[in-house]
Structure formats: structure tokens, C-alpha cells
């Protein structure tokens, strides 16, 4: 098994890719267990745990109470004691309820014990808006990018969901694995052969010459739609899918930005102290002169009202307009 580009592929849904990664890793390593609300018989809100309960039983696929602090705390404690739990926090908004064990314990466990303990826990959570309103739509992955000891990944395709989750489950420390409500129903090609996608490697999803769009997760599709719009008027976009937010692959982004001379960062969350602010700051450390722009949600909560949700979030039109402004 390697992390080389895969051979034959098979089409699967994003949710199936997650279930596959878990199934393989649970077969491979009996320390891998799952904790979460309705992850058992029900198979998860997006069926992303489908079949695992039937295969591995109630001891390893554990339905929990609605108690995010304990869910993460118990998973972290089990990790520190030798297991490799994945804990599912249904929506990223509820991660706030469990940040204490994640940030104050798990992320510091190895350091504060001088290397005696490690906490290989994967906190899987679903970000983004899809009609569920102000407390079920937030993207706060940027908060976690600066926590020493914590890694953060956010796939945008079934292949990466599969490969990054497998890597996450083999990490020696805590990982925040961020998926997205709008990605679950999507299908994509995934290698037939078992493989991992390493952390810390961004991927160029689309080649282009005039501007680099650095983005991740659900916004990769919006970037692509914007690139299509812009292509019609002769503007060629390069899209870098960050995939791994911590560690961040500055080299790939910077190389692309150096080539195109313009960098637009795109995220679904707030731009303030967001992923884009970090990406731009890092890229600037090596590239002094560069046109940049940030695109993210408007500075408002995301309402469940369909018109307001749509108005709040970046869409292809707004991204294309931002690119035009940047290049003008």
C-alpha cells in the first residue's frame, strides 16, 4: 500500500468513501473505534457510517448521548490510553461544546507529559450551511489551525475523504477531520487499491494562468463554477485545494501564486482571522509583491431563510466578480 497516484478507480459517494476508510482501518487495527450520536444502527446523519455497526458491533461503533464535551473527552482519554477513536461531532457548531478536552487536553497531551502520552484521536465533524440556520452552519476550522499539537484536514472529494481519513486514523496525535454537508451526496472516483493521502499536501485541481484561487472543502466546487464563468471571458483560474489546513502546504500555493501573480483565497467561513488570512500571510513571507483578495461569508450569521443563506455565502458569481476586481 502506498500513497502513490492510484490505478483503477471506482465511483463512490463522499459518504461511502468515509465509510470505506473506516471499514478498512477498523479491519486493520482493532484499536480504531467510533463514538458519536446515531452512528450505530442509524449509520450517521449522512449515512457516512453505514454498515460499520453491522460489521464491527456495538462495542466498536458506539452511540453516545448528546454530550459533546464527554464524547470528545472520552475519546481523547481512550486515545491517550492506547485506543484510536474517531468521534463524530454532527455539526461543527457543536465542536464548541467539546473544545476543552480537544484543545486543553488532547492537543497538549504529548507535550505536557514530555512525550509519555499521545492522543491519536480523530474528531470528525461536518461544517457548512445547508438550510439549517444560525447554529448549524458554521465553519470554524480556522480557530483550530493555530492550536499547537492539532492537525486539521478538510477534503473536497470522495478520494480525499477516503485517503485523508485513513491517514488521520494512523496519525500519532489528534486530528480534526472536517467534511461538509453539501459534499456528502456527491460522487467521485476513488482508487480501488487501498491507499492513504498524506497530510500537508495541497492539490492543484485546475490549471490556469491568471489567478490562483486557494480554497478547501465545499468551496472547491464554487471555485470551479467561478472558474467556468471566468473562462468564458478569457480569464484562466488555477484552483488549489488546500486539503490539509494544518500543516499547510505553503509551497504549492506559493508556487502557483508566483506563477499567476494573483492570489484569491476563498472560504465559506468568516474571513476575519480565517483560513485565507493565514494563507495570504504565509505566501507573502516568500513573495513580496502580489495582488491578493479574500472571499468568505458576509459578516453575518447564516440564516435558514433560503434567500439569506444564499446571500451570505460565497457563490460562483461573487467569486468571479472578486477575481475580476482583483485582476482589474
Amino acid at each position: 500500500m502506498s500513497s502513490d497516484p492510484p490505478g483503477p478507480t471506482v465511483k463512490m459517494f463522499f459518504r461511502e468513501a468515509i465509510a470505506r476508510a473506516l471499514r478498512e482501518e477498523m479491519e486493520r487495527d482493532e484499536r480504531v473505534i467510533i463514538l458519536g450520536q446515531d452512528v450505530g444502527h442509524y449509520g450517521g446523519s449522512y449515512k457516512e457510517f453505514s454498515g460499520l455497526y453491522e460489521r464491527f458491533g456495538a462495542a466498536r461503533v458506539r452511540d453516545t448521548p448528546v454530550a459533546e464535551a464527554a464524547m470528545i473527552g472520552v475519546a481523547v482519554g481512550a486515545a491517550a490510553a492506547g485506543m484510536r477513536p474517531l468521534v463524530s461531532i454532527t455539526y461543527m457548531d457543536f465542536l464548541m461544546l467539546g473544545l476543552d478536552p480537544l484543545v486543553n487536553y488532547a492537543a497538549k497531551a504529548r507535550y505536557k507529559t514530555g512525550g509519555q502520552l499521545r492522543a491519536p484521536v480523530v474528531v470528525k465533524t461536518t461544517a457548512g450551511a445547508r438550510g439549517q440556520g444560525v447554529a448549524h452552519s458554521q465553519c470554524i476550522e480556522a480557530w483550530m489551525m493555530g492550536v499547537p499539537g492539532l492537525k486539521v484536514v478538510a477534503p473536497s472529494t470522495p478520494a480525499d475523504a477516503y485517503g485523508l481519513l485513513k491517514s488521520a486514523l494512523r496519525e500519532e496525535g489528534p486530528v480534526l477531520f472536517v467534511d461538509h454537508k453539501r459534499l456528502f451526496p456527491l460522487a467521485g472516483e476513488v482508487a480501488v487499491d487501498e491507499h492513504c493521502v498524506p497530510f500537508g499536501q495541497a492539490l492543484i485541481r485546475r490549471r490556469g494562468d491568471h489567478v490562483t484561487i486557494a480554497t478547501h472543502s465545499g468551496m472547491c466546487r464554487v471555485a470551479d463554477a467561478a472558474a467556468e464563468l471566468l473562462a468564458a471571458s478569457g480569464i484562466s483560474c488555477e484552483i488549489v485545494d488546500l486539503r490539509s489546513l494544518a500543516p499547510l502546504d505553503v509551497t504549492t500555493i506559493a508556487a502557483s501564486a508566483a506563477r499567476t501573480g494573483a492570489l484569491l483565497t476563498l472560504e465559506e467561513g468568516q474571513v476575519t482571522c480565517g483560513v485565507g488570512a493565514e494563507v495570504q500571510s504565509r505566501v507573502r513571507e516568500g513573495l513580496a509583491i502580489l495582488r491578493t483578495a479574500r472571499v468568505g461569508a458576509a459578516a453575518a450569521p447564516v440564516s435558514s431563510s433560503p434567500v439569506l443563506e444564499a446571500a451570505c455565502l460565497p457563490d460562483a458569481g461573487r467569486v468571479a466578480a472578486a477575481v475580476r476586481r482583483l485582476l482589474s
Partner: protein, 313 residues
């Protein structure tokens, strides 16, 4: 007609309205994502019969029954659920955050357990300002696993807050049965270490809910501190309109036999306070009110996207 009969009929009317309202809502293709209260009407209606205009009610994201039982105008509620502009929150809150504080509905909050500490704070404000009311906070069995309940019980007991905690226990958190998520049985025992009076009642029986709620609300209003009421109910639909059913079909069917509306109507009929014809008429009235609410909301505008940044800071 005696007051007793009038009150009993009002309870029936209130439950019928909720049922009809939800049926109407389900006929609307653009309803998005909803959490229905059908089957659980007696809990909200019985509780609200114990509330006065000085009181405030908070609910979980399963907000339709609480809002309507509290007497909010159905058209405006429907508009809010559909994200339309004339909703009390201007469509911004939706079902998860429906609120109309001036009408005694402080609001729904879609974070499970997230309304508990807030409700305690509202009760603290009332206590400090010497206001006559109390605060009722509805939450599901699922919320009983959350630490917020413990912290709220403790602070409310210490500070003798005028707070009635109402657990609308439908036996499930999404797909997870109570016994798999919660060790305490009944859930009302959670109140006992804190010296908080508690009761568990049949949440399918609107009179049982009302009577217990009146007693415990009075306790809270009298400055004797918080109280805890657990109501055992049955959710007729799936967890949400986007959720798969996991309960055995027989279980759901058996639950439906205990329909709080049917039971209450039968009781009234048995007591000679309701005849077939009146019942049909009441159902028609509820349907008509629901249909009119839907018409109103359907023809109402969505918020103007240019007002996206209104009321943020």
C-alpha cells in the same frame, strides 16, 4: 358551558390547531427542514395552559407546538418557519430559533441543551427585577445527557430561580432510544440531588400535563425555586423531515393509538362535553386556520437580501 368545559375544549382546539398546522406545512413543497410536534401536542398545550402572560417559554428546535400553544399567531409562525419576512424574527430564525418574546415566547434554540442555561438567565433577570412571572423551558430527553442540565439544575436550586424545566420525553434522540443514552430512569430523578421537586406524567394526557404544570409553576412563581416536570410523549413522525425512520412500525402504530388529541376528545365525549358534530367542526376550524396561515405565509415575501447585515451588531 362551565369554565371547566370551556378550558377543556380550548385545550382540544389548541392541539387540533398544531396538528392541522403541521399537516398544512407538510403540504408546502418549500418547507425545507422541519421538526414536527405531532403526537407531542399535549405536552406543549398542557404546559402553556399553566402559563400566564408574565411567564416566558423557551423551547428546543422542536418549536411548532410550543409556539402555537403559547398563542402565537399561526400565520406569522408559518412565515417564520418558511423563512419569510413577516415572521416574528423576520424569517431569520426559522424553526430552530423561532421567537416572540413580547408574546411570552422567549424562543426556540436549536442547540440541544443550549436553551437551559439561557432560560436560567431569563429567570434570574425576572427574580432580580422582582417580576411576577416565571420561566418554563422545554427540552427533549436527549438534552438530559448534556452537562448544561446539571449546571442549570445546580445554579437554579442554589439561587432559587423561578424556573420550570419541562422534559418533553419522546423516548428518542433522533434514532437513539432513551435507555441507550441515559442511565437515570425516570429522568425526573435527575432533579432529586438538588432538592428540586419533580414529577413524571403521561405526556399524552393533556390534563395530566396541565395539572402537574400548574402545581410546579406555582411553586416556581412563589419564590420556592425551580421545579422539574417530565412528560412521557410519543413522536408520530420521524425526528425531522429529513430523517429516516428507525423505530419498529408496531411501536409507532401503538404510539399513535395513544394520540393525545383522540384521547382528550374521547374523554370529552365520554363526559358528554363534546359531540361528534362539534368535534368535526373544531377540526374544520383548525384546518381552516392552518390553511389560512399557510396562504398568508406562502404569499409573503422572503427577506430582502440587501438587508443581510441588518441586526448583526
Amino acid at each position: 358551558m362551565t369554565t371547566r368545559i370551556a378550558d377543556s375544549l380550548a385545550l382540544l382546539r389548541a392541539m387540533l390547531l398544531i396538528r392541522a398546522f403541521e399537516s398544512a406545512l407538510m403540504r408546502h413543497s418549500g418547507h425545507g427542514f422541519q421538526l414536527l410536534s405531532s403526537g407531542q401536542e399535549a405536552v406543549a398545550v398542557g404546559l402553556c395552559a399553566a402559563l400566564t402572560k408574565h411567564d416566558q417559554l423557551l423551547s428546543s428546535g422542536r418549536s411548532i407546538a410550543p409556539a402555537l400553544a403559547r398563542g402565537l399567531e399561526p400565520g406569522m409562525v408559518m412565515a417564520e418557519l418558511l423563512g419569510k419576512s413577516p415572521g416574528p424574527c423576520g424569517g431569520r430564525g426559522g424553526r430552530g430559533h423561532l421567537a416572540w418574546p413580547s408574546q411570552g415566547f422567549f424562543g426556540a434554540h436549536a442547540v440541544v441543551g443550549g436553551n437551559l442555561t439561557i432560560a436560567a438567565g431569563v429567570a434570574l433577570a425576572m427574580q432580580l427585577r422582582g417580576q411576577p412571572g416565571m420561566v418554563a423551558c422545554m427540552f427533549g430527553d436527549g438534552a438530559c445527557g448534556s452537562g448544561a442540565l446539571h449546571e442549570t439544575l445546580n445554579i437554579a436550586a442554589l439561587w432559587q430561580l423561578p424556573l420550570l424545566l419541562v422534559c418533553d420525553n419522546n423516548g428518542y434522540s433522533v434514532s437513539t432510544p432513551q435507555a441507550q443514552a441515559l442511565a437515570p430512569q425516570p429522568l425526573a430523578t435527575l432533579a432529586s440531588p438538588f432538592g428540586i421537586p419533580a414529577a413524571t406524567v403521561d405526556g399524552m394526557d393533556v390534563l395530566a400535563v396541565r395539572d402537574a404544570a400548574i402545581e410546579l409553576a406555582e411553586h416556581a412563581r412563589a419564590g420556592k425555586g425551580p421545579a422539574f416536570l417530565e412528560c412521557l410523549s410519543v413522536r408520530f413522525a420521524t425526528h425531522s423531515t429529513a430523517t429516516r425512520e428507525t423505530r419498529p412500525a408496531e411501536e409507532v402504530a401503538a404510539g399513535k393509538v395513544r394520540c393525545p388529541i383522540g384521547q382528550h376528545a374521547m374523554r370529552l365525549e365520554g363526559e358528554g362535553c363534546l359531540d361528534r358534530q362539534t368535534r368535526v367542526q373544531l377540526e374544520h376550524e383548525a384546518d381552516a386556520a392552518a390553511a389560512s396561515a399557510l396562504r398568508f405565509a406562502d404569499s409573503a415575501p422572503y427577506p430582502d437580501p440587501r438587508e443581510l447585515l441588518l441586526n448583526v451588531v
